[in-house]
């Protein structure tokens, strides 16, 4: 049994301007100790997916419409608030994108560090403080015993993210959800933070969901990867499959955007066009307006089916817009496409 098994997760926001389909039928699973990467551009629904698991989306306007999220045999989406509170911070912890705003500026670091311990365990102040100091040492904060009583504003962004990691892991949870933990940080500290997460994960055997918009980060850190676009799964598989043998046009486009693989000094490549407007009704292929491949699909038609390519590799099998094509020819076409460079120019020429 996987540690976490998410099925058909669907979270919408009912705003004044209409329904925002932030997450639209996403499924994935994760074993103990494993790392799952969730990749996609900004606005793909990665954060909302994570928040939905711990039911941290603002309700209203948000609402989890459908789906199950079985965590160790219990459905996170059906639990009572009290049951959920016993999971939050004890068995599932979370770190966030912006360490500057995610720590409470009015409370000491020590107070915030020991809070999860004291919420979930019967532990004395003294023991908790000892643990907090040790937790700071483990994430590489110098002079931890002195700094533990400081306030967040006395820490740099990178140091605050270390504090967040220490805080999330202090209860030794089964699952750590890290929502773009390095996006707000300097390039130089990004790798350090990822290393610390990885190292602590090895020490504690924690499973990790690592959200990022950089497919390059995923290659070195994750076992499995879920590529999301417009609140939907585009492709999923092992890190190798996604990184070395991507099938879906969106995954391939994402690969071109990896900063570390691009020629230095040139302007960073980004996929032309804007991320999808999640408030438009979802029909057909979400990537249609920006897809560089020849298109003869009806943009308002059916959504491409998720097709299993074997060995855990799945994709939204568009068959390069030929939805009537038999599965064999689709796979053949996809293989062709991997050989060809992604014809991005098609988009710019038109």
């Amino acid at each position: 049994m996987p540690l976490l098994d998410v099925n058909d997760l669907t979270t919408h926001f009912h705003t004044r301007d209409g329904v925002v389909r932030a997450v639209d039928g996403v499924s994935f699973h994760l074993d103990r100790g494993e790392t799952l990467g969730i990749v996609g551009e900004s606005g793909s629904g990665k954060s909302v997916t994570c928040y939905s698991l711990l039911r941290l989306i603002p309700e209203p306007p948000g609402r989890i419409e459908r789906g199950t999220a079985m965590f160790d045999g219990q459905d996170l989406l059906q639990m009572s608030p009290a049951e959920l509170r016993r999971i939050r911070g004890r068995r599932i912890s979370m770190i966030f994108q912006d360490p500057m705003t995610s720590l409470n500026p009015f409370l000491r670091i020590s107070t915030q560090l020991i809070e999860a311990l004291q919420t979930h365990q019967d532990i004395s102040n003294k023991d908790a403080l000892k643990k907090a100091t040790a937790a700071l040492e483990e994430v590489g904060i110098p002079e931890a015993s002195k700094r533990v009583t400081g306030y967040p504003h006395e820490f740099s962004g990178g140091m605050r993210q270390r504090v967040m990691i220490a805080m999330a892991l202090i209860t030794e949870p089964d699952l750590l959800i890290a929502d773009e933990p390095t996006t707000a940080l300097d390039v130089t500290v990004q790798a350090q933070i990822l290393d610390i997460i990885k190292q602590r994960q090895n020490d504690l055997g924690t499973a990790v969901i690592l959200v990022t918009h950089d497919l390059g980060v995923v290659a070195g850190t994750c076992d499995r990867v879920l590529v999301m676009y417009g609140g939907q799964e585009m492709e999923s598989g092992t890190a190798e499959q996604i990184f070395y043998a991507p099938r879906h046009p969106y995954t391939r486009a994402l690969q071109k955007t990896i900063p570390s693989l691009q020629t230095k000094g040139q302007e960073l490549y980004t996929i032309p066009g804007l991320p999808p407007d999640a408030s438009k009704p979802a029909t057909g292929c979400a990537f249609f307006p920006r897809c560089p491949y020849p298109k003869n699909r009806d943009p308002m038609g059916e959504r491409p089916d998720l097709v299993d390519l074997g060995e855990g590799h799945c994709w939204a099998a568009c068959g390069y817009c030929d939805s009537s094509a038999p599965i064999e020819s689709v796979l053949a076409k996809a293989d062709e496409a991997i050989v060809d460079p992604l014809p991005v120019e098609v988009e710019t020429a038109r």
Binding site: I87, R88, G89, M94, F96, T101, N104, P105, F106, T119
Partner: protein, 305 residues
């Protein structure tokens, strides 16, 4: 912290000196004299009286004498109520005003802050709409309208409470309510705003992700920051309660300092005006210092210098 307090104290003393000087020279420049009465007084007697109070000396000399006296805690005699000193008048009526002011402040904070917290936590429910509509009405009604209205309703129509005098707790209620509810309305709105801002912060999400119960989030994570607007308003509110008490004391015939202030100004009772000014200014300076200290204590990002 000590350095901060000492610096602010020195600053306060300078402010008080400035206030004293300005008041003294304004009073001295006012036409008329404390000793002019309707009855004709023989010039030599008037000169005698003026000499007794030091008014035969040039203004600048009088200023330094009076300043020296005040610094020694000697506010002089009342120039109009011949047999009473300013200190006696203050000692008699200040406790009344202090009680009224403290009760009003207690009402303002004790009702305003919990109402504001509740409204923020239960926003967009009737626990938010009702207190906020009431407080809007409270803010719109000036004290001199609210006072008579309350007196009319609870004193004359319902006959529950006395509408004038100061002879026991039942006499305190209407003046306290008139003075306090107005500021309770302000504090409620400010607290609601501050708490709402805190409840929308990212760190609240962090706390929820840790499994922290909602009441702890409100009281431990949000209250400190959420009270900052209210604490900032505490300085002006205290000054407002003090000056508002002049009106309220007049409406409800409370024998406090407010009446004396008005009378002293009308009678040109120089020593009394100066004494009361020094008293009120000192109070406001001290309150503001306390407010500043409270703000620094609440917000770790503020440094003490």
């Amino acid at each position: 912290m000590l350095k901060f307090v000492i610096a602010r104290l020195l600053q306060g003393i300078l402010v008080l000196l400035a206030i004293y000087a300005v008041t003294f020279f304004l009073v001295a420049a006012t036409p008329g004299s404390p000793f002019s009465t309707e009855r004709a007084i023989a010039p030599e007697i008037l000169a005698q009286i003026e000499a007794f109070y030091g008014y035969d000396k040039p203004t600048s000399e009088r200023f330094f004498t009076s300043l020296t006296n005040v610094l020694q805690g000697e506010f002089g005699p009342s120039a109009v109520y011949a047999n009473r000193t300013v200190t006696q008048i203050i000692a008699e009526s200040f406790p009344v005003s202090l009680l009224l002011g403290s009760l009003a402040l207690l009402v303002a904070l004790g009702i305003g802050i919990p109402a504001g917290i509740l409204a923020a936590v239960k926003r967009n429910t009737w626990l938010d709409y009702i207190p906020m509509s009431v407080s809007m009405a409270g803010i719109c009604l000036p004290t001199f309208v609210m006072g008579p209205l309350l007196a009319l309703l609870f004193g004359l129509i319902l006959n529950w409470l006395p509408v004038g005098g100061w002879f026991g707790p039942e006499f305190w209620i209407l003046p306290t309510a008139t003075l306090g509810l107005y500021y309770a309305a302000y504090f409620a709105r400010l607290t609601r705003g501050g708490m709402l801002e805190m409840l929308n912060q990212d760190f609240v999400r962090t706390a929820r992700a840790k499994g922290v119960p909602e009441t702890t989030i409100v009281l431990k994570h949000c209250l400190k920051g959420g009270l900052i607007p209210a604490i900032t308003f505490l300085g002006p509110a205290l000054a407002g309660i003090i000056s508002g008490s002049f009106v309220v004391e007049t409406i409800f015939q409370v024998p406090g300092l407010g009446q004396w202030f008005v009378r002293a100004a009308l009678n040109r009772d120089d020593f009394l005006v100066l004494g009361l000014t020094v008293l009120f200014a000192t109070l406001i300076v001290i309150m503001n210092l306390l407010v500043d200290i409270a703000q620094v204590a609440l917000n770790p990002r503020l440094k003490y210098d």
